[in-house]
């Protein structure tokens, strides 16, 4: 089984945030409001942060796109009392809304702020998605899967899934998955697909021939907060 990972080239990234918006559209993540932003209640499965250091005129700002790091040793999974969040065989960390108690222990445990607590029911009509099955929230017993999300369940924790619905679907149908350094890409997560500078790559970290492995071999790379020994699978190429 593949070991999915993402490589993000910080030299190519220009902070346009197409990734964040493509994620919102793909996963039907609700938008926030000024009030929610003030309280940090708004939800982003993917966000772009800017970290500035130095004094005028020697300033340096790093613009860092942040999906979930999908750690190999995920602290969120360790602390979850109800096993609502778990690591799939292919390394993707997913959240099962039906099992989630809403205790938010995982949010505290995550060193990357990749998790969101849903404080509200999704009410705006314009964001109801008729294309998605209507019965996947907590009231529905038949399905255990956390995707898709036609509407949101209040009081549970949500997070990035590397768009595993796309990957699974592609594998089911025998399509190729992952970035290519030359030629047509396979099926990609929405953020990777949307990136106008092609700063993002997705693929199998265990396959030495995949684009992600070759990029990591060709350049220095780093992971965020490596000292915490979480072994993230979202990897950055520095400028």
């Amino acid at each position: 089984m593949a070991n999915w990972g993402m490589v993000i080239d910080l030299d190519k990234c220009v902070g346009c945030q197409a990734c964040s918006l493509a994620c919102k559209a793909e996963n039907n993540v609700p938008h926030g409001s000024p009030y929610e932003q003030k309280r940090h209640h708004d939800m982003y499965w993917h966000k772009v942060i800017a970290a500035t250091e130095g004094e005028y005129p020697a300033v340096n700002t790093q613009i860092i796109p942040m999906p979930c790091m999908h750690c190999d040793h995920p602290p969120c999974v360790n602390v979850c009392p109800s096993k609502a969040t778990f690591k799939r065989g292919d390394g993707i960390i997913v959240q099962n809304f039906r099992r989630c108690l809403g205790c938010r222990y995982c949010i505290v445990a995550c060193p990357y702020g990749a998790r969101n607590f849903n404080f509200k029911d999704q009410e705006d009509k314009e964001y109801k998605r008729p294309d998605l099955p209507p019965d996947m929230d907590l009231s529905f017993v038949g399905n255990m899967g956390p995707w898709p999300y036609p509407r949101r369940t209040r009081g549970v924790v949500e997070k990035c899934t590397y768009c595993f619905h796309r990957i699974d679907q592609a594998l089911e149908r025998g399509w190729e998955v992952g970035s290519k350094l030359d030629g047509e890409h396979g099926v990609l997560p929405a953020c990777v697909e949307a990136c106008p500078t092609e700063a993002r790559y997705f693929g199998d970290l265990d396959d030495p021939e995949s684009a992600v492995s070759r990029l990591m071999a060709s350049r220095t790379h780093f992971k965020l907060r490596e000292e915490m020994h979480t072994s993230p699978k979202t990897i950055y190429l520095p400028r």
Binding site: G32, I63, D131, W147
Partner: protein, 756 residues
Amino acid sequence: MSQAATEKPDNPEPKRSSGFRISRRAFLGVSAAAAAVLTVVLALKRPKLAEPVETQATKAIDTQEYIATSCLNCPTRCAIRVRKVQTTAGQTKVVKILGNPASTYSEGKCCSRSHVGLQVLYNPDRFETPLIRTSGDKGRAVNFETDFRVASWEEALQAVAARLTHPDRLLLFQGLNTTSNADLIRQFALACGTPNLFVEEGLETDADHEGKMLADGRSDSGYELMSEDGTSTKYILAFSSGIVESERPLARNLRLWGKLRRELPNKTRVVSLDPRYSVTASRADEWVPVNPGSEGAVAMAMAHVIVSEGLYDSDFINHHTEGFSKYRTVVMTQRFSPESVSGISGVAADAIRRIAREFAQSKPAIAWSGEAATSLTYGTFASHAIYCLNALVGSIDVPGGIVYQQYPLYAAMPAEGLPITETGISFRRMVELLRDGAIDAAIGFNSNLIMSVPESKEDGRWDSILKREGFFYVHVGPAKSEMAAYADVILPACTYLEEWGYESAIPGSGYAEARIKQPVVEPFNESRPAARIVFDLAGTLGKRDFFLPEASGISGDSGAFAEQFAAYRTSPFVGWPDFRSVGVWRGGHYSYRNYAFGTASGKFEFHSDHMERLLNVGRPGDSSVYPLRLAIYRPVLEIKSSGQNFPWAQEIYLVMHGRGWKNLVEINRETAHRYGIGEGNKVIVESVHGEIEGEARVLEGMRPGVVAIATGQGHYASGRFADGMGVNPNDVIGTEYDEESGQPSFFNTRVKVRKA
């Protein structure tokens, strides 16, 4: 428990339970059974970790299709594909916007603005029917629910036609429109017989274009960055230009940025001269903070270095240019030496020399003039000075340098009558017309004028002009906006995702590219395509002939007009069914080194008559009262198609500050300290034209003495997600013009900042 069971019934202690009793043995039995059931349930419910969780991605979807059309959230107008789904329940919804791989212009990529198109389409504050004003004040006090009454299309069109009796007293504002609609609006101006067409895009670009026109006589020059055969620009000198945030063509810039920076053996070096540590500056190899408005002088100093050290491309200059000897004499004077310009610009003379040498020695290299470098009273000259650097190093009409855009050859339209250019009348001319009371009626097509001109504040010049008694304004647009707040009649137009049309690629690629616009969903409620509105209006005036060329296949049926018009216009180069399925047509390869200049001499002209103007970078006003300079900038998520009522764009508006739903008053830390301002303080920015209140952002990435505020916020009539968020910096900017082109000079205002 057995003890309790033998208790006497007359025990005075009250019973604790209501009679439910259970033996220890039974309790254990029940517990064990419950545990067993729970285990089974949990085991059944537990997801199998090793297997992919079952997805139901397509079960609720009956059909889905990808419709090729194009974006209109900025003037780049990228080709996009729109994913539309039909559910088994019979609902239709547009759920995703992607780039169109058939477009080589931006290699099938689109920027973040494109994604917001979903919210442009499903904007909750769109107009449903034509509206006619019955009462109420225009402007800020507007209430769209009570001040207007619902009207039928026929009634509304009659009401408009009744006021269009004096064509010479009519003014047309054109905001961001589809190319085909822009063509129709120009045609409408012809039909009405008015030369007064104002194109709002020129508010940002007129001076820059004028400066380039002075040199090469062409209005279609663009920075290629990378040719089709892979020759890339090696050195980019960005003069206050936000190449990766606001400079058009944005999606192409972004895609090529990725290529130039990391996909080629040699990385392109980028140097950003900017008073503000912009996104582009932060992504560049070097940020050179420069005094605002002195970019042109720095360009001249660089020319001084290049000419004096003999680094210029003498081959190009000898054969294809005019006026170089005089230009050389001027730039070689002491005034333009790096040492003396250093005093004006704040850039060290050594740095100017080094960058000039690097620039001249890396070929091809381009010097890119941004809005902040040219929106000045001497903007045309600044633009010209920067543009001449490209000629000095021979980057004109070469792969990876400056190229001249080719356009699709559309089928002809009847065009007798007044000469009306694509860029319309200048801003200065429009102001004169309005100030002199020469205009009685105006029609705004998706206009955003009041938000994007200087002195936009309440009771300011524009407010009073648009409120004037007897001034009749018709707003044609899809959703609530500030211009609609001044309207007497509102005609609800479709968004770009509901209409027929075509788009031409803007300068950048060299080769021509046309993109289709086709409706992905039926028009919302009673809204109609702008093309049809224009055609019907012309019909009401009895001027339909201007829209019905002979043998064009346009039937004259207004419902089918928009599609037939687009099909007719594109018929010379592409078949309509092909165009609809692919979405993109591209012309032949660009041929370099044609040097087809449009100047009187037929050569690239160096002008040096007014260049000393670049050294006088002072602003009007008293520097002791207003010590700071106000700069504006346009973040990537400023959506140009209408009023920012889009929560996705709003919540991540300022990426460099991690903030949304507002803009900030950005000040250098030292400067802020001097005025006692701290991070997050409420501050008042005051100029002679008024004052605005915003939230201070104290940072290092700003030249001391500069206050920067992002545009795109400060709406008051655009709807629930835009109103009351942030401020509009144009409120305090004064109306000064670029001396040549008449563009407003947005970077010419002095301000002071104090704590609120």
